[in-house]
Each structure stands twice: as C-alpha cells, then as structure tokens.
C-alpha cells in the first residue's frame, strides 16, 4: 500500500469518525426531545366529605389498577380518597347520593388498553381511601390488577363483598369491629389473597370462592362469635389458620387436593377438633377443593 492510499484511508477514517460523532449528537438531541414527547401524565385527585351524623352508608369502591390502601378514617370524616392516577387511561370517580346514602369511589379504566406494560412507573398509580368507623357500612369492593392492603379493623360493617381480579390482596381486621356483620362474600379470580384475623370482622358467615392462586384464611381474632364458613378453591393452595381455643368442624370435599388433618379427629365425613362440643367459639367450615392443597395451621 502506498503512502498516498494510506493518506486517503486516513482522511476517510476522519470523515467516518466525524459522521459518527454527528450522528451521536443528533441522537442525543432527539433523545432529550423524546423524553418530552413520550412523557406520561400522572394527576392527583382528592375527594372527601365531612361526617354529619349519618347512620349508614353503602360504599361501592372500584379500583382498576395500581396500589390501593383502605383504612378507617379519623373522627369527623365520612370518607376521603387521595389518589394519583394515569390521566390518559383512568378517571377518578367519587359520587355520593345523599338520599340513598350510597357512595361510589375509585379509579375506573377509560378503556384504552389497561396497564401500559412498557412503563414500570405505571404501577405508581395509587389510591388511599378512608371510611368512617362511625357509620354502619355496606361495603362492596371490586379490585382489578392491583396490590391492595385493606384494613377494616374497627369499622361498623353491615356486610362485605370483595371481588378480587388478578391481584395481590391483604384483607386485615386489625381491631374488632363494632357492627353486626351478617355476611362476607369474597370472590377471588386469579391471584393471592390473605385474610388476617377474620373473627374481628364480626361477620357470622363467610363465603369465599377462590379461582386459581393462593388463599390464606386466618379465622382468629379477639371476637368470640360463632362462624359458618364455606370455602371453595378451584385450583391452588388454601391455608387455614385456626385459633387453638376454637372448636372446629371441617367438612371437606376434595377432588385432587392433598390434606393433612393435623389436630382433627375424623367423625364420618367430617373432621372435628376434640373440644368442639364444649368450645365457647365454634367454627363450622365447609371446604371444597378441586386441584391443589388444603393446609391447616394452628396458632
């Protein structure tokens, strides 16, 4: 190779390097502009109403996606919701019908394709809801793709309906409620549900229909009322956490589910704890499980 050719190659190399540098400059400029173009807007919405001596209220809370907290409100507040949401895809809702004492709260999908999977910040969508412990509550919760922590401890529940889609939900009754709850109905699609200290709810009946996933049901608590519970699991694992002092009678209908009857003695088709007839608090459990496992933990 002659020195002339070498020189030409050198000048070509310099030109190529310049072209690369210019391309990088252009890309970085476009990159900065792109951040502006594809920015996603999160907005904050707050709604509240003061407590004016209402006796009862029916609450329908629908939460399409994100992170939800629900807890008792401070005295003087009937309800309050603080939310942060994706305004391109969701809309907040808060409507109170005074004559019927019905409240609708939540974040509803605008029908534009649900969660934007390309952006993990989407999960920043969140809402915190406070409900008055002074009002008798009929509570209907519908949760979509969410991670929810619901503490109903201390609330005056009249009845409870909980529909859980593909989500992870922890339902806690941290303190005994003061209401006379008739029934709690829980529907779980696919996901994970953990119910903690259910006895504190004061509900005398529980119906839990589990689809696919994991369900942990703690039937303990400070309240000492009797409980009749029906639990159905299609596919997945059900963990029953039972307080040692309670008398438990378990009727199990299983198709292809394992079960270890620790702490029970068998009486015909039922599993009964030794002190069932004399126990102050009785729990009647009917469990149907198709595929999976039923596990009992005593504490």
């Amino acid at each position: 190779m002659s020195w002339v050719e070498s020189g030409r190659r050198g000048s070509k190399g310099v030109e190529a390097r310049r072209a690369v540098i210019n391309a990088l400059r252009l890309a970085s400029t476009l990159f900065v502009c792109a951040s502006t173009l594809s920015a996603q807007t999160m907005r904050e919405y707050t709604a509240s109403r003061p407590y004016k001596g209402e006796q009862r209220m029916t609450v329908k809370l629908e939460f399409a996606a994100g992170e939800l907290r629900l807890m008792p409100a401070a005295p003087g507040t009937l309800y309050r919701m603080e939310s942060r949401y994706d305004s391109e895809r969701y809309a907040p809702r808060s409507e109170y019908h005074d004559p019927t004492r019905e409240l609708e709260l939540g974040l509803k999908s605008e029908g534009k394709g649900g969660i934007r999977v390309t952006n993990s910040k989407q999960l920043d969508q969140q809402a915190t809801v406070w409900l008055s412990p002074e009002v008798e509550l009929g509570l209907a919760l519908s949760l979509g793709a969410s991670e929810s922590r619901i503490d109903l401890g201390g609330l005056r529940l009249r009845d409870l309906q909980l529909e859980v889609g593909g989500s992870r939900t922890r339902l806690t009754f941290s303190r005994p409620g003061v209401g006379s709850c008739r029934e709690a109905v829980v529907e779980v699609g696919a996901g994970e549900l953990e119910v903690d200290r259910f006895a504190n709810s004061g509900c005398s009946r529980l119906r839990l229909n589990g689809g696919v996933g994991l369900v942990s049901l703690d039937l303990g608590g400070q309240a000492d009322g009797n409980l009749a519970a029906e639990v159905t699991m299609t596919m997945g694992r059900l963990t029953l956490k039972l307080p040692k002092g309670a008398g438990v009678r378990l009727t199990l209908d299983r198709f292809f589910a394992s079960f270890s009857p620790a702490g029970f003695s068998r009486q015909g088709e039922q599993f009964v704890t030794p002190d069932y007839s004399t126990a102050r608090r009785k729990i009647d459990l009917r469990v149907a499980s198709s595929v999976g496992a039923v596990k009992v933990e005593w504490y």
């Binding site: 400059r25 907005r43 919405y45 509240s48 907040p92 109170y96």
Partner: protein
C-alpha cells in the same frame, strides 16, 4: 460548514444550560433522563409563572345565547370531564360567553363578603374564590383555589380544578374535590429510562439465549446441527409445520388433559403431564430459535468465507452471529421505539420477523424430532444415487488404490 458546526452545538448546549440552571437539576438530575425531566419541570414552572402573572380582570361572564355554550354544575362527580369541557370553551375565539344553569360564572378573582348570601352554583375561572359569606350551591374553580374562611358556609360541593380547596373551619357541607393540574402532578418521563430498560432487558434475553446455545453446542451439537440443517434445507416445510403446530398446541393440550381425566389412573398423572407438556413446548421453541440462529449464522459465515474473509467456522460463532442478528431488530426498537409512529412500525416488524423465525425453528424442531431424525436435514442421499464408484477412485495422494478385482482366467 461553520454555521452547521455552530448550530449542531447550540441546541444541546442550550438544553444543557436550561437543565443545569433549573433548581431540580441542582437537586437530583445527573443522567440524560434526569436532564430531560428537569428541562420539562423548568419549562412547566416557567409556564405557571407566566400564567400567574397574567391576572384576569375580575368580571362576570355573560350568559350565552340560547344555543350557546352551557355547563351544568349540579353533578361534580366526573371532575375530569368538567375540566375538559371548560378548557374546550377557553379554546374558542372571541370573548367568552357561558351559561351556568341555576348559577353564574365569573372570570378572575371572586369574593363573597361576610353576611352576603349567594343562591345557586358558582363557577370561577382563572381566579381565586374567597368565600366569607354563605353560598347555597356548588362551587367550581378552574386554575384557582377555593378558600372558605372562618364563619362562611357552602351548602353544596366544592371542586378545584388545577387548584386547591382550603376549608379550615369545615364549612363545606358537601363533598370536597380537587384535581391537580397536569403540570402540578409529577410527570413520569418514559423516554430515557425506557430506552435503558429495554436495552438492559434485551441484553438479558441475549445472554440467557447465548448461555443455552453454548450449552447446546458443547453437549448436544449433533442435535442442534440436525435441527439447523432442517431449517436450511426444508425452510418452507418447517414454517408450515410450525404454523400448524401453533394452532394445535392448545387443542392438543386440552385433549391430553381430558384424555387423562377420563381414565382412572390417568387423573393422577395430570399435573405431571401438564408440566411435561409445557416443558416440552418451551424446549422445542428454544431449540428452534437457537437452531434458526445457528442456520443464519452458518449461512452468513460461509458467505463471508466465500468472499475470502478468514474466520473460524464453528457452531459457537454460528449461534452467536445468528442471535445477534435476530436481536438486532429488537435493538433498533429499543433505541428508537419512542418515535411516535416509526417506533410502532419497528416494534411490529421486529415482532413479525421474530414470529416467522420462531415458527420456522419450532417447525424444524418438530420435523427433526428435536434433532433425532435427520430426514429433512438434506443429509440422506437417495439409495439409488449411491454407487460403489467411489471405492475405486484413484486417490490424489497418500494410500495407493486397490487393484480392481479381475475375474480369474478360464
């Protein structure tokens, strides 16, 4: 030339200057993504300052004509829709005329004095509503706050759009709502962060597939080569097979489960069968993709060698080159997926190409029975084409040829 040079430097320099001068940058911004976010924040602050300085002259908004714009404030449940409607009204040309049924509209700051009573709903646009007296109705403020002072009362609901409601004495009897402005709420930047996340995810996928590929080449090279040769020699057949197999995957799975459930012993095997089926499916897909990469890499390498380039032809190189080519398309998407229309097109193209390649690879896996059966690999020569001529060919060097047997003399 000098002009181009100046212009090419000016824009990034200006952006950097704006970014660095913003307080947000001083606090947090360091990377390109943070620079962009701080620029947006600075611009929105600047816009807000401009809006704040552009005070509206307080005045009542006249009622519109019979068919003119109107907005009802009786129901405030859907705050976002009310805001959208009001902003649309602002976009119109000429002086604003607006009818509020059972109420009134006001532009600029508004005050209701102590002892005064206002019956009906109240709409305040671009101003602060100061309530000292009694309002019997709902109140809505756009781009301004609602301040209810001690001793005042509002019998209805209060809604502040891009503003706040201040009610120190709990004088609002109805519902209190506030919706932050789009610029007040945090704006999630998806540009730079998304690009970095996508590139990282792509690298992760590449490394995982490369690791599996290296394992296959090391421990099961004949299998991989058989599937790869099936791809190269029976491309169309492999694609059709893969396509049909994709359509049959779910029905076959259902038939398997139902079939097992109908038998007494088979019920116990359902969980194992399900797991085995899924694993086999995944293994066939991954093997197919790697074999496809191997075939692509081999073709490319052989073409380069034919051009006189000296490279080492081995299966590791083939798999690596093929995977890089396959993921190259996704690399383009990772870098430029943010471009509004082109990004979607690149994504669609990458998905389509990957699907075609995956289908061919999956079909080749099935045709070759996961590399066991080389029927479609172009290796078997038909028996009728075989002769024993090669046995008697004279070698070019080395071992001398065996003498051709001749019949014994009679």
């Amino acid at each position: 030339m000098r002009l181009q040079f100046t212009a090419s430097k000016a824009l990034p320099a200006l952006l950097s200057l704006i970014a660095c001068s913003s307080p947000a940058f001083a606090r947090t911004a360091r990377g390109p993504d943070e620079v962009a976010a701080s620029v947006i924040e600075w611009l929105s602050d600047f816009q807000q300052d401009l809006q704040a300085n552009r005070a509206e002259t307080p005045q009542a908004i006249p009622h519109a004509e019979a068919n003119g714009p109107s907005i009802s404030l009786d129901q405030l449940a859907d705050a976002a829709s009310i805001e959208q409607r009001l902003r649309q009204l602002f976009e119109g040309n000429g002086p604003l005329r607006l009818t509020v049924p059972n109420g009134r509209a006001w532009m600029g700051d508004f005050g209701l004095g102590t002892g005064d009573t206002l019956r009906g709903n109240l709409l305040v646009l671009r101003g602060t509503a100061e309530i000292f007296g009694r309002l019997e109705g709902n109140i809505v403020a756009l781009d301004g706050d609602i301040v209810v002072h001690r001793g005042a009362s509002v019998s209805g609901d209060a809604l502040a759009l891009s503003g706040r409601v201040r009610d120190a004495d709990r004088a609002i009897e109805g519902e209190i709502r506030s919706l932050s402005s789009a610029s007040d709420a945090s704006t999630v930047s998806t540009g730079g962060g998304t690009v970095f996340r996508r590139i990282a995810g792509l690298l992760g996928v590449f490394l995982i597939l490369a690791a599996i590929g290296v394992g296959l080449v090391t421990f099961a090279r004949p299998t991989l080569e058989t599937v790869s040769d099936t791809v190269r020699h029976s491309l169309g057949r492999a694609f059709v097979t893969g396509l049909v197999a994709q359509m049959l995957v779910i029905p076959t799975f259902g038939m398997l489960v139902v079939g097992l459930a109908l038998t007494v012993v088979g019920v116990l095997l359902i969980p194992f069968a399900v797991a085995a089926y899924l694993l086999l499916f995944l293994a066939a897909v991954v093997l197919g993709i790697l074999a496809m990469s191997h075939a692509m890499g081999e073709s490319y390498t052989r073409r380069r060698m034919a051009l006189g380039v000296l490279v080492s032809p081995n299966s590791y190189r083939y798999v690596g080159v093929g995977l890089a080519a396959m993921l190259g398309l996704w690399g383009v998407w990772a870098l430029f997926g943010w471009v509004p229309v082109a990004g979607t097109l690149v994504l669609g193209g990458a998905a389509m190409v990957t699907w075609v390649l995956g289908t061919v690879g999956f079909g080749a896996s099935l045709l070759s029975r996961a590399g066991i059966r080389p029927d479609f690999a172009g290796r078997l020569v038909p028996p009728e084409a075989l002769t024993d001529e090669y046995l008697w060919a004279t070698p070019q060097m080395g071992v001398p040829a065996v003498k051709r047997p001749t019949p014994p003399p009679k």
